[in-house]
């Protein structure tokens, strides 16, 4: 009989914690003394993925830096729901300036800390997808180019949610937004547009680029912690479902992030020094339809009649990701 490896913990590698797991193998979030960087009482919608992603990421960054950290925040939901002055949910030093200048402010803070000899204090910048891929893009590209010592985190909910769900450069094709209505022969956001910021960041040749979702906490925390161990410009792109903008059930936020990754629509990978060093393999592959049907922003693909060709187009995009990043273990690739 072959000996059975005993390191099996029932849910160890997927759940937040686990009483059977050694403390150091549990997530930061399972720690009763976690920082709770984003405290209760914030005004995000029920089931907000962005609120969740921000706490996940910043708590991990606090753990990694021993709390020597300052967060720079772009305008957007994360800023508005957390800090209606004078109340704030932030329990870390936090700075907000404008919608478009977050990378520049973060670069400035990092430079100031260096000048003051306080380079032990680390800088994390955070913004929504609009603040990152659209209006903040020029400043971000400069921050990358100068290799400023900032971890920039984009919480991607795939539209301008704070102002009422307008399309951004990260909105997926076919999705309905306030500015891409589900009307006409090609309803929703057109195919062939938009920006793939993780790959753009990679093209800048910066030291660390990674993607993550709120559905895989172990993976997300490991990436934040790894990023904080490095210096220079780093970029983390986190998929954060938005029940309001996506027209989904508030309880399905994590489920949707999981389906986005499991379908291949959102590739989860990590690149160091310009090279993709690891990908998170799909565990149980699902068709994109499983992901789409749960969201009202894609309802026009199913009602009044099914738009099979559009669904197939989205499936093709997922399959492209699967091939590009090798998201499925070789023996599971369908021929």
């Amino acid at each position: 009989m072959t000996p059975t490896p005993i390191r099996f913990y029932q849910v160890g590698s997927f759940a937040v914690g686990n009483r059977l797991l050694e403390e150091e193998l549990r997530t930061v979030q399972s720690d009763p003394r976690r920082a709770n960087s984003l405290d209760r009482g914030h005004r995000a919608c029920q089931g907000c993925g962005e609120a969740l992603g921000a706490r996940y990421a910043l708590d991990a960054a606090v753990r990694a830096t021993g709390g020597d950290l300052v967060a720079i925040n772009a305008t957007g939901c994360l800023e508005v729901f957390s800090t209606p002055f004078p109340e704030s949910s932030w329990r870390v030093p936090w700075l907000h300036s404008l919608f478009g200048n977050t990378p520049a402010v973060a670069s400035g803070v990092a430079a100031a800390l260096r000048v003051k000899g306080r380079s032990n204090v680390r800088v994390v910048a955070q913004a929504g997808d609009g603040g990152t891929v659209d209006i903040g893009f020029g400043a971000l590209s400069g921050m990358f180019e100068r290799n400023d010592d900032v971890l920039f985190i984009c919480y991607d909910n795939e539209a301008y949610m704070n102002t009422g769900v307008q399309r951004s450069g990260a909105t997926p094709p076919a999705a309905r937004t306030a500015t891409t209505e589900a009307v006409g022969p090609e309803p929703g956001n057109p195919f062939g547009q938009g920006k793939d910021l993780p790959r753009i960041a990679l093209a800048h040749g910066i030291g660390y680029v990674a993607t993550a979702t709120v559905a895989d906490l172990h993976d997300l925390e490991a990436k934040v912690i790894k990023a904080m161990a490095r210096h220079g410009a780093r970029y983390l792109h986190v998929l954060v479902p938005c029940p309001l903008g996506w027209g989904s059930q508030s309880r399905d936020t994590i489920r949707l992030a999981r389906l986005a990754a499991e379908s291949g629509l959102f590739p989860v990978f990590e690149a160091e020094d310009g090279i993709v060093t690891s990908v998170r393999k799909i565990r149980h592959k699902v068709p994109v339809e499983d992901y789409l049907v749960l969201q009202r922003r894609f309802a026009h693909l199913f009602k009044p009649e099914r738009r099979d060709e559009v669904i197939a187009h989205l499936q093709a995009l997922a399959d492209e990701n699967i091939t590009r990043y090798g998201l499925v273990a070789p023996e599971e690739v369908e021929v």
Binding site: G41, E87, S89, S250
Partner: protein
């Protein structure tokens, strides 16, 4: 404090904003009834003892287990484990090997010499238990733990009933049986063996017992009229098994037919192979599908070289020749075809069912017997006040595990009776169904299998066929449990709340209350993510009442 430049107000905390007011549904922690527990005839809290075993705390697991069933090493061998048939994990890959882990715990307890806690106090009440099979022994155990004095009477020379005289040693080694019986007796049970009680009511009276538990089982093999010559060797399966168990196996020859399709028929046929029969042929009038024998038993029998004739009845037995008739099925009905065949045979073993010898209650006023079984109410009490019955003598499925369950139930009722109370049935939680689980979180893990004795050695010895799990794969197997409907502290609810509205309580302090997390309803917005992401379905979302 003077605010710094350009700041006009102190920074306040968002905790001033009680977002709980937005909520229309609230999450609540619940305990659901796991399907294994629901299916266990002995009423074991399987999920709970697995929970302790998962942590490697085998003693806590064993103690939780024996709260309901004092015979884990035995049941871990002979139980037909309906728990595994009900197990939710079967829908994922394969059921958890509950029976194998139970046996591991039972063997582990024997090896470590773990003993039962003595009763907290003696009540001075006396209970007569008649029959020392799984039901009688379990009743004695549960009654002793409640402090009642127990006298255990059996007509056989040794205790154990069918576990000693019916179940072959290759399924239940006798040292295991002896060890688990001894541990019960060590609680202080007065044992009388080799004594047959003829009149139960008179015995109760004469012995001044406060209550009686009747568990004499079903020990008489059912016979059927088969025309047979004088020389034909016909005996019933129970006698065969009894004689083998008593160390005095009958000489039946090399070609033996077994008539019947139940577990006893399988036991008899497999025993015959071990006694040297080259041809052990089971004759059954229906097909394997209708067979009352457990599928595993049939598979093992066939594996050991037992042969089978389906859709066949025995017509006569003369001069070393068995005349068989082919039959066909019309629904459940067996219809003769008039087509005959012969089977050379040295002996015929009848395994056609068993009856209880209930002559001891003939004179007991109030004890009703219907279709050969003693009638009892929900509390296992007969029509005669203070006389309870269980196991194979009452109607229902006849298995050792059912018998153990009857005993637990009856002991509770007897205890209530002796205290002059009425038994309130414990509340039943709704079932933890598969659709409530979020199986994403469970690690893939193959079921661990127990080793089996090679076939050659099964033909010549009564050595145990099914071996044990080792400690490492027993632990692994325990951890395959999904903990259906009961929190196992995975921290998901604490982690996944976007509002940080779940508190993780101090483990030591909260262990007593059995809760490790608490919702902060001042801030919980009722989004339901914790409900959706709870792996085991231990959180409900219920509407707020306004």
């Amino acid at each position: 404090m003077q605010p710094p430049y350009a700041i006009t107000l102190d920074v306040g905390s968002s905790r001033a904003n009680k977002t709980g007011a937005w909520r229309v549904e609230r999450p609540v922690y619940v305990d659901r009834l796991p399907p294994c527990n629901d299916a266990c005839p002995a009423g074991e809290n399987i999920q709970r003892w697995l929970y302790h075993a998962e942590a490697g705390d085998y003693e806590a697991a064993w103690r939780q287990l024996v709260d309901d069933n004092p015979l884990p090493a035995i049941m871990g061998r002979i139980c037909y484990h309906p728990c595994e048939s009900a197990c939710n994990r079967a829908e994922l890959d394969e059921a958890v090997g509950i029976n194998a882990v139970e046996r591991f715990l039972g063997d582990h307890a024997i090896a470590r010499g773990w003993r039962f806690d003595p009763p907290p106090a003696e009540t001075g009440r006396r209970v007569l238990v008649v029959g020392s099979g799984p039901s009688g022994l379990s009743a004695a155990y549960h009654l002793r733990r409640r402090g009642h004095a127990v006298t255990l009477v059996d007509q056989a020379e040794e205790l154990g009933g069918m576990m000693r005289y019916g179940i072959p040693a290759y399924r239940l080694p006798r040292d295991v049986l002896d060890d688990e019986i001894e541990r019960i007796l060590a609680l202080g049970v007065e044992v009388v063996t080799g004594r047959r009680i003829d009149d139960l009511a008179a015995e109760k009276e004469a012995g001044a017992y406060d209550a009686v538990y009747l568990a004499v089982g079903a020990q008489i093999g059912r016979r059927t009229e088969i025309p047979a010559g004088d020389s034909a060797r016909i005996l019933d399966a129970l006698s065969l098994l009894h004689q083998v168990a008593a160390g005095d196996p009958p000489l039946l020859g090399r070609r033996v037919a077994v008539y019947g399709g139940g577990n006893t028929a399988m036991d008899a046929a497999r025993t015959l192979r071990r006694l040297g029969a080259t041809d052990a042929v089971v004759v059954y009038r229906r097909t394997p599908k209708e067979m009352p024998a457990h599928a595993d038993e049939l598979a093992d029998a066939l594996h050991e070289g037992v042969q089978a004739r389906w859709l066949t009845t025995v017509k006569s037995f003369e001069g070393g020749r068995l005349v068989l008739e082919k039959v066909r099925l019309e629904g459940r009905d067996v219809v003769p075809t008039g087509e005959f065949e012969e089977l050379p045979a040295d002996a015929l073993v009848l395994a056609l069912g068993q009856d209880s010898d209930l002559s001891l209650v003939e004179k007991a006023a109030g004890v009703a017997v219907e279709h050969g079984a003693v009638s009892v109410d929900d509390a296992m009490e007969t029509g005669a006040m203070g006389i309870f019955a269980g196991g194979d003598v009452v109607p229902g499925e006849r298995t050792a595990t059912v018998a153990v369950g009857h005993a637990k139930h009856a002991a509770r009722a007897i205890d209530a009776f002796l205290r002059g109370e009425t038994l309130a049935p414990p509340p039943r939680h709704p079932l933890a169904t598969f659709d409530r689980l979020n199986t994403w979180y469970y690690t893939d893990a193959d079921r661990q299998r127990r080793p089996e004795l090679e076939t050659a050695r099964r033909r010549s010895t009564f050595d145990e066929v099914v071996g044990p799990l080792r400690e490492d794969n027993a632990l692994f197997e325990a951890r395959r449990c999904l903990s259906c409907g009961n929190c196992f502290e995975c921290d998901n609810c604490y982690g996944v709340c976007p509002d940080n509205a779940v508190d993780k309580l101090d483990l030591a302090a909260s262990a007593a209350a059995g809760r490790h997390y608490a919702f902060d309803y001042d801030y919980c917005k009722g989004c339901g993510i914790c409900v959706a992401e709870c792996p085991c379905g231990a959180i409900d979302l219920v509407p707020e009442v306004i």
